[in-house]
């Protein structure tokens, strides 16, 4: 989120780019000219907004002077930026924090959830089984491909929330495993 100090025309962004933390300090100089320091590396930028999805930029740093075509689209987590064929997810951390407070906690490491809408093909374990890290727990099928969901660590299967042929979606917890360490606590 931007901290705009009026008069100075400076903005600060706290981003992640492809999961790398990036601190961007922006000074808007004049029409279509600005400087941005990215993790302390300064860049001098002029740009043209070519379309809703394309920004053409001239980016000068100490060593290089580059012309860059950046293709951009908004997505729920931030923006996708594509440069030279590579895609980067760019998130504004402050915006993300706000959003996360509203949504349910997502990343629970002791649960098994499918990566995409799929159908359960096989369940290789039963409640109470002790499993080792990497062991096959559930096999799902999507887009004509079978995927094995494996145990993320050693532990005990405490719950199975699906049956063979169930249609399941990301975020659904198909199986829960109590971590080995946890069970001794």
């Amino acid at each position: 989120m931007a901290h705009l100090n009026k008069g100075e025309k400076k903005v600060e962004y706290n981003l992640t780019v492809a999961q790398h933390p990036v601190l961007a300090n922006v000074s808007i100089l004049e029409k279509q000219n600005l400087t941005i320091s990215v993790n302390l590396t300064p860049y001098d930028i002029t740009y043209e907004i070519i379309s809703e999805n394309l920004i053409h930029m001239s980016v000068k740093s100490k060593n290089r002077d580059r012309h860059v075509n950046a293709y951009i689209s908004s997505c729920p987590d931030g923006k996708i930026v594509c440069i030279h064929g590579s895609q980067y997810l760019v998130c504004d951390l402050e915006r993300k924090e706000k959003k996360n407070k509203k949504s349910i906690d997502a990343a629970l490491p002791d649960q098994i959830t499918p990566p995409m809408p799929s159908v359960v093909v096989r369940i290789s374990v039963q409640v109470g089984d002790f499993v080792v890290k990497g062991q096959s727990i559930i096999v799902v099928s999507a887009m004509k491909m079978e995927t094995t969901l494996c145990a993320p660590f050693d532990g005990t299967v405490v719950k199975i929330n699906c049956a063979v042929n169930d249609k399941v979606a990301p975020g659904w917890i198909l199986a829960e495993i109590k971590k080995k360490g946890d069970s001794h606590q």
Binding site: A2, Y13, L15, V17, A18, H20, V22, A24, V26, L34, I36, V38, N39, T41, Y43, I45, Y47, I49, E52, I55, M57, R66, V68, A70, Y71, I72, S73, S74, C75, P76, D77, G78, K79, V81, C82, I83, H84, G85, S86, Q87, Y88, V90, A107, P115, M116, P117, S118, V139, S141, A142, M143, K144, M145, E146, T147, T148, L149, C150, P170, G171
Partner: protein
């Protein structure tokens, strides 16, 4: 010639077939499922028939619905494309009964060649060299273990009805055998409706070299030279090219003759592909015949100047080939890259979802056979192919440079694709020197991660966009409903 053809497929291949039909003055009938109401193949065809729910078994794999659609629309012939019903003997037979022309080989050829073990027997009989292995399928893992012991590990478990790498597992030691058999059989069952599996000796670092053949049913069989398809991920081709860097003229002729022999021995008619493995000593082995149009057929079209779909339709209409082997020659070098909606950083896991922005490369020597557009929702139910990007140039070096540039100018936002991975493969020195083997990706690109050199530029672009772009207000609800972006799933995914 036919007046109307039904295309029993979807996506890029349905569109590619339509292009030729349209040029031949033949009307096209598309079929579409719930997921494909707004699919390009459904909106670009002259007619479109709705055939049911998104699940393939309720639509694209449902013979009754396809046949009714053909009846209803008055189509005289059906082109099955690749996948779905393309190599289904029952479907070809059903068409015959219904007196609808099936644009493909006769049912018997599909049946014989579809069973890899039968195919191996036919080839052995005709003197075409085959890979050592079982001549009959067997469901028993213990029997498999004994066979493997006899051949020596590593071995490959294969679906007898297989193709496209589905129902296939490499087994390097006895303890992997039971799991591998189970998985291969299960995958084979769901992909081909047939769980039969068998074993073959696993060749070390082979190349995959295949020959496109055309047979007209009047005894004229020609081949359209080779395609080198060694670059594979998950046993599925991802880069194909022609000519192969591994063949000299005499080996090319020898393999071409074997391919024609294989087609003749199996009573083949229409277009097909005879696949070989080529070992490090230049010895080649029959692998299988794909009894359909291949994804990679454009590579042969570019170097020979022929339209293979047109030939398929002509042959199905009962016309003899109007050229002979000597008329076939190669010009320049062609490469195809498959643009999949997959995440190459995560074992090429499918990445369906809404395409937020789509820009195809164009220009000299670039062909893109594409099935999507900006705003299209790539369905979760089907093969994740977005397009086939093909280049043609004067030689291999120029073709590689052309492909790298075309890939760099191909923009797909909203889902992950194979594009950045393909750029790195084409740019590496091993590919440039032509050292392509079927283990290429495992050897050179295991655990590949996208280069992060442009992180600063991406941050800058974000900031400029944030401050200066006047975009219409973001409609988050639209984006998140039903759409999984790769980043929503990544955090939770383990395989």
């Amino acid at each position: 010639m036919f007046k109307k053809i039904l295309i029993a497929n979807r996506g890029e291949i349905a569109l590619r077939i339509m292009r030729t039909c349209c040029e031949m003055g033949i009307e096209t009938v598309a079929v579409y499922s719930d997921a494909d109401h707004e699919a390009l193949h459904a909106i670009e065809a002259d007619h479109a028939v709705y055939i049911g729910k998104s699940d393939p078994s309720e639509s694209y794999l449902n013979m009754n619905k396809i046949i009714s659609a053909a009846r209803e629309s008055g189509a005289e012939a059906i082109h099955p494309g690749y996948g779905f019903l393309a190599e289904n003997t029952d479907f070809a037979r059903r068409c015959l009964q219904e007196e609808i022309v099936f644009i493909g080989p006769p049912p018997q050829a599909i049946h014989d060649l579809g069973d890899k073990t039968v195919a191996r027997t036919i080839m052995t009989r005709s003197g075409v060299p085959v890979i050592p292995g079982m001549l009959k399928p067997d469901p028993d893992p213990d029997m498999m273990k004994r066979e493997a012991e006899r051949m020596g590990y590593p071995v490959v478990v294969k679906a007898a009805a297989g193709g496209g790498g589905k129902g296939m597992r490499i087994v390097r030691s006895e303890i992997e055998m039971t799991d591998a058999c189970q998985q291969a059989a299960s995958e084979a069952k769901s992909a081909f409706g047939n769980s039969a599996i068998y074993l073959e000796k696993y060749l070390n670092r082979p190349r995959h070299v295949e020959f496109q053949i055309l047979s007209d049913g009047f005894g004229n069989v020609v081949h359209l030279l080779e395609r080198e398809c060694s670059i594979q991920r998950r046993h599925q081709k991802i880069i194909e090219e022609s000519p192969s860097t591994a063949l000299n003229q005499s080996l090319r002729e020898e393999m071409g003759r074997a391919a024609v022999e294989a087609a003749k021995a199996s009573g083949y008619v229409n277009a097909g592909t005879v696949e070989f493995l080529l070992d490090e000593n230049g010895k080649f082995y029959f692998l299988e015949v794909n009894t359909r149009l291949q994804v990679e057929h454009p590579v042969s079209e570019m170097i020979t100047g022929m339209d293979i779909v047109r030939q398929q339709i002509r042959i199905a209409a009962g016309l003899p080939l109007d050229f002979i082997q000597d008329d076939v020659s190669s010009r320049g070098h062609a490469i195809e890259c498959r643009i999949y909606g997959e995440d190459p950083e995560s074992s090429f896991f499918p990445s369906p979802g809404k395409i937020l922005y789509h820009k195809e490369p164009t220009g000299p020597g670039i062909r893109n056979d594409c099935g999507v557009y900006t705003g299209f929702e790539v369905p979760v139910e089907y093969d994740p192919i977005i397009s086939k990007l093909i280049v043609h140039a004067q030689d291999r070096k120029q073709a590689i440079a052309r492909m790298i540039n075309a890939l760099s100018r191909y923009v797909v936002l909203g889902i992950k694709t194979t594009i950045p991975f393909l750029i790195d493969v084409l740019s590496c020195k091993e590919f440039k020197s032509g050292q392509t083997h079927t283990d290429f990706i495992d050897v050179h690109f295991k655990g590949w991660q996208q280069r992060k050199e442009d992180v600063d530029l991406a941050a800058i672009a974000y900031v400029v966009d944030e401050i200066f772009q006047k975009r219409k207000p973001r409609d988050d609800s639209d984006l998140s409903s039903g759409t999984i972006t790769p980043w929503e799933t990544l955090g939770k995914w383990r395989i």
